[in-house]
Each structure stands twice: as C-alpha cells, then as structure tokens.
Symmetry: C2
Subunit: 387 residues, 2 copies
C-alpha cells in the first residue's frame, strides 16, 4: 500500500426533504449567493421554489445563472464568473447534476483568477482561494458532490478537460434521493454506468495489497448490480435511488484509490474525446468503451484483477484466472446491456471518423492509463473496436 | 435507508514516515501544544524523539503529559486540563493508541468547561468549543483517530463511559503502519477484534435496505479475516499492518452506520462494565462477549443478518437462514480463537461476581441495544453465559 493523504471534508446531508436544511447551512458561508442550475428541470419538479424559499429564509441576496448544459461549456463558466465579480458573490450554490456542479467549481476557481479559466485544465494555472460552494444533487453519477474535481468543455476546440483541487470540495452537499425520481431511464442507466466506471478506473491498477480499498470498491459495484435495474423498473423505488446516490458519492471521494499509485483513467480520457465531439451522454460512452478497454488490456499479467472482480462482484465460480477474467468482462457487458445502454458507437450514431484526432488529443500529455499504458495507436485501436 | 448527515473531516496522513509531516500540520493550528502520550513505549521505539524534533521544527512551545494508561482515568484528564489552562495551550497532540487519544479528547472538551469533565459522559453537559487536537496513532483498534468519540473511566465508582461530539474529531491523524510493528500479539489480536466489533455493532441492526453500508461493513470484516493472522505471524508485515490500520479508522468514522436508525452497542456497553471492574483489554472482552451476544439474540426474525454475514464475509454456502446464521456465528468464534483471544471470562481469571451490579450499570439509562433491546436481566444472562 502506497502512502496517501485522505481528506473528504464535505458535509453530506442525505435523505428526504434535506433541502429544508439549506438555509441553516448556507448562512454559515455566505451572504451573497450565486444560485446556478441547468436547463429548467428544477422548475418542473418544484425544487427551484424550495431552494428560493430557503435562500429567502436564510436572508441572503442571490443571483441566478441558468441554462448550464450537459458537458458544461466554458461560456457558462465565464458568464458565472462575471455575475460573481459584478456582485461580490461570496458563495456558490450548484443545484443539478454533475454538469452544473462542475461548471460551478470552474466558476469558483475562476473568480479570483485573472486569466482564462481554461488554464486550470491545461496546467497553466493552479487553483487558489476559490469561492466556497455547496451543492444540491439531482443525478446520481459523477461523484463531484464529494470531491474537488470538475470537467468542462470548450466549443471552439472541441476539447473536454478536467481540473482538480482539494479546495474545490463542496462545503456541503444535499443528497435527497427523491430528487432523482424524475431522472429518465437513459440518464439513470448512464449514471449507474458512470458510478461503476469510476470504480473500474480506481480498481484496475497494478497495485497489490490494497485489500480494503478493493473490497470497498467491490462493495460499491455490488450495490450498482443490486439496484441498477430496480431504479429503471420503478423510478420511485427510494431504496434503489438512495443506494445508488450514496454510491455515486463514495465511488469518487478518494476512498477506493487511496494507497494506490493512481487511478487508470484512460477510458475516461478516451470518452471525453468522444463526447467533446459528439455531445454523447458520458455514461453511455463509458458503457461502450469500458468492455472494449477491458478486453483490449486483458492478458496473462492482468487477468488476476478481472478474475478478482468476477468472483467478488459477480459471484463467478471459476478457478482458471483467464477464464474467470473473461467471464467477468462478459458479465459487465451483459449488465450494461441489461440497463439499456449501447455497446457500440454505431448504436448511438457516432461516425467512425476523427479517431486519429481524438487519439492524439487523448494522449496530448503523453501515454494514458496506469494498468496498461496506452499511446495514440492503442487508443485509436480501442476506438476502432468500439465501432 | 434513514436520513443522515455524514461528516468526517479529519485529514488522514497515512504511510511510512508520515510523522515527518507533523511540523507542517501542527503550525496550522497551534503555537502552544500539549504533547500527550502513554506509559513510555514511544520512548523505546524512537517515536518520542521524532515527535519532539518535529515540534521543535514547527517552532511551537510544548508541555508533556505522560503516563496515560489503558482505560484512561479521569485523573489523567484533570491533569491535562490543568496543564492546558496554566499554559494557555491551544492545541493537543495525542501520540498513542485509543486510550491516549480518548483521554486527550476529554481534555480538549474539559479545558473550556467549568465543571467536572465526567459531566460530558452522563449527559449533564455538552461539549462546546473544545481545543483542537491531532493524533499520531500507534495501535489499530478503536477508530478514535477519525471520529468524535472518547471513552474514559473513573477509579472511585468503577465506571467507564463515553462522550461524543463532532467538534472532537481530530484535525489530522497520522497513521504510519510501521508504528504498529512493535505491538505485541495480544494487543494486535485484541485490536483486530475491536475493529470487527465496531462493524458488528453497526451491522447488526433492524434496518433493511442499507445495502451499500452493509457491503462496506462486509468489506472491512473481510479485510480483518485476510490480515488478522498475518499480523500475528509476522509483526513487520507492512501490508497486513496497513490494511488493519486503515480498516480501524474506516470501521468507526460513520461510513457503516449512516442511513441506519443507530448502532446496537449493547455488547460494548456490557464490555465497558467488565473492563471498568477488571482492567481487561477491551478487545479481549469483546472477543468473549460478542459470540455470546450473537447466540443470545439469534432467533427466526434476526437470523437473516447473521446469515448475510456468513455468506458475504465467511463465504459460507448454506440455503437455510438459521443454519447459515449458526455457521456464521461459529466462524466468528473460531476466528477469534485462531487469533489467540479468550472465549470465556474464566480464561482471563475474571470472577463471576458483580454481574448484578454490572448489569444494572449497563442499563443505567434504560434497556440497551437496537437489534434486540436488552434489560438488566438479559444483560446478566449474557454475562452468565460468558463465564
């Protein structure tokens, strides 16, 4: 087990009607608030009114930033920064899924920074003294509600990149599973795939001896298997929604990667290129790419870890490592399919072009992945196999 | 799943030589430090010198409180409070196992409080504005390094009671598995039992639908099974020591009880009475009591949870719930025995008297336990069966 620091200070308020505690939380941090949300679903569900009521109860001034889209654009980030600067905003409240929250993290980082907020994603600048932020989560997927990461996109160059800093961890996150009842089947399934993919990225590493981290990773994967279907069959199954929601936060708060050299993240990197070009749902892209990646990297040396997953997550009884590994990968593929997720790019009408450029972009800073290092040619091969 | 708040803000610095980062951490919090430790083992291992060197490097003034014993006494708490008040101490550094850390939490709570610090344990006072504290852990067991709980004892009345407040969570905890290499077999085994017992207390509850919490609990139990023996066989097995150490923190930081009505804690309550009378190692007392408690509360209605543990932790294949449950309990008993832990009170020379008084004290505030409520007579029966 490698040395590590673990620090996950976000206060989680989890459960039915927890939004009623927003006023108490928010007054601990700010008096002038940016209230940011997406393309309007929170108005339909009534969440908008509840939040506005709490903001009034808290006695804070607030400004709204709406229309933040999936795969959030730099444009929204800059809009948010402008509002914050103009009004001396001292706290950001992100209400939505991963895209809204990630956009707000970029805003939080950008307000005190003189340059282009894109700089944070290309290592030209480091985050310093960002505005504090809190979240109300409406989609179980990215885990951003409990970590310091964000992913943003830019239209002009068709790039999608991540920024990350401990100081961007939300002060609090309100997780009410009822808020995810209205998430449609496609997004629900894609969210479950996203949670599982975060575990995969941190589970498939060359490390040995990180037993407790891997066992926790397996616990979260088992939870997704247990409830992935249930949430599709009955969108108001509270138990399913609650277990998936808490899993989404635990999957990417550091718990399963501590003590390892690093997560792999090659598959995410490749997916980012895909969805920067195609505005594809992130989870759907991962559902296509992960089984392909697994089959591509599987060899004698790496079979042990796929076999471990097969046995501990899918209950596959098979002595032979390679056979167990293959069965495990098949089980992942089968499970994604059972959720109604696509298994090839042509199923979601993504053309087999630009693969060269995507592969190049994915490896912009050198080969990617730690379980198996992948260069441009290998990334291209994975994209080809995903057709 | 019940509504919950989860907040575990302690920064964990984990791994070899992490004590070298102490100076950087401590200067963030204090200038006048109470350096508290136990009965001298840190002098033998060289840890004392390393800490002193870091305190000098940090440029802080410090005062020492030494001689804190297992099952820490109110006397040490009051001694610490005096030193802090006299010297305007603004930070407490606890170096040791659970007893030293718990004693320091009581000191931290007691400094700004006018009355008797025992008041916190009997609900006469609540903790307010305690001194901040940090820890360097030398024993994997209690989990106090990542939570706001403490247990202290008083000699005069032979009582052992807990206090708990979020504000008592350490600011940071340094966990170097190498520091546990010198822990002897008895204490190592007792520590593993303690970690498992914390999981049991939070696992055996009447709640249903807390799948992810239970799966994580099972992950930690599996880790203890994997490494419990290994740490005894080779005390310098880093992998074993590291997995046990991180498990000890994760077992009681809130992760496995969130979403449940509460932990059970009856067995701990009974053990506290036992060790208040007999200065018994806490983990050894738990090794005796837990299998007895499991057998005592097992019935048709509660068999499902023991069966779940049997299957998911011990890999027991058995369809019948009651039979699986019985096999699971037998496996726990067997495992504790394999660690060299006692399975009855007479093995550790504890006389079968005072059971009446102990049972009365255990139920001082009413029946105990949530999986099955236990009154005085039932507690007495468990003690009788443990003879």
């Amino acid at each position: 087990m490698k040395n590590f620091n673990f620090w996950a200070p976000t206060k989680i308020l989890f459960g039915k009607n927890k939004v009623n505690e927003l006023a108490d939380e928010i007054t601990q941090y700010g008096r002038k608030v940016l209230f940011a949300y997406g393309t309007g679903s929170i108005r339909k569900t009534g969440l908008y009114d509840k939040v506005a009521e709490q903001l009034k109860k808290a006695g804070v001034e607030y400004w709204e930033l709406s229309g933040i889209r999936p795969n959030p654009r730099l444009k929204s980030v800059n809009e948010g920064i402008d509002i914050c600067r103009k009004n001396n905003v001292d706290f950001i409240l992100a209400v939505g899924g991963g895209s809204v929250i990630d956009c707000c993290k970029a805003i939080a980082a950008g307000v005190p920074y003189d340059g282009d907020p894109w700089d944070f994603t290309v290592r030209k600048a480091t985050v310093k003294d960002p505005l504090p932020l809190g979240t109300i989560l409406t989609l179980s997927a990215t885990g951003t509600e409990m970590n310091g990461n964000a992913v943003i996109s830019r239209e002009d160059t068709k790039e999608k990149r991540a920024l990350s800093d401990d100081s961007l961890r939300p002060k609090f996150s309100i997780l009410d599973p009822v808020l995810t009842f209205s998430v449609n089947k496609w997004q629900t399934a894609a969210g479950t795939v996203d949670v599982m993919s975060h575990i995969f990225e941190q589970y498939f590493t060359p490390d040995r001896g990180t037993f407790v981290q891997d066992a926790i990773a397996e616990a979260i994967l088992r939870t997704c298997l247990e409830y992935g279907q249930a949430a599709l069959e009955n969108p108001e199954n509270y138990e399913a929604r609650a277990n998936l929601m808490w899993s989404s936060s635990l999957a990417l708060n550091g718990l399963t990667v501590t003590g390892k050299m690093a997560g792999d993240w090659a598959t995410h990197q490749i997916e980012h290129e895909l969805s920067a070009y195609n505005d594809l749902t992130h989870g759907a892209g991962l559902a296509i790419l992960f089984p392909v990646w697994m089959e591509y990297v599987l060899d004698e040396r790496r079979a042990f870890k796929f076999a471990q997953m097969a046995r501990n997550v899918f209950g596959i009884v098979e002595q032979n490592e390679m056979k167990a590994a293959e069965k495990g990968i098949a089980a992942v593929k089968e499970f994604f399919k059972s959720l109604g997720m696509p298994s090839s790019l042509h199923e979601v009408d993504i053309p087999a072009d630009n693969f060269d450029h995507m592969a190049e972009q994915a490896c912009k800073f050198g080969p990617i992945g730690v379980f198996k290092r992948l260069g441009k040619e290998q990334v291209k091969e994975i994209l080809e196999r995903a057709k």
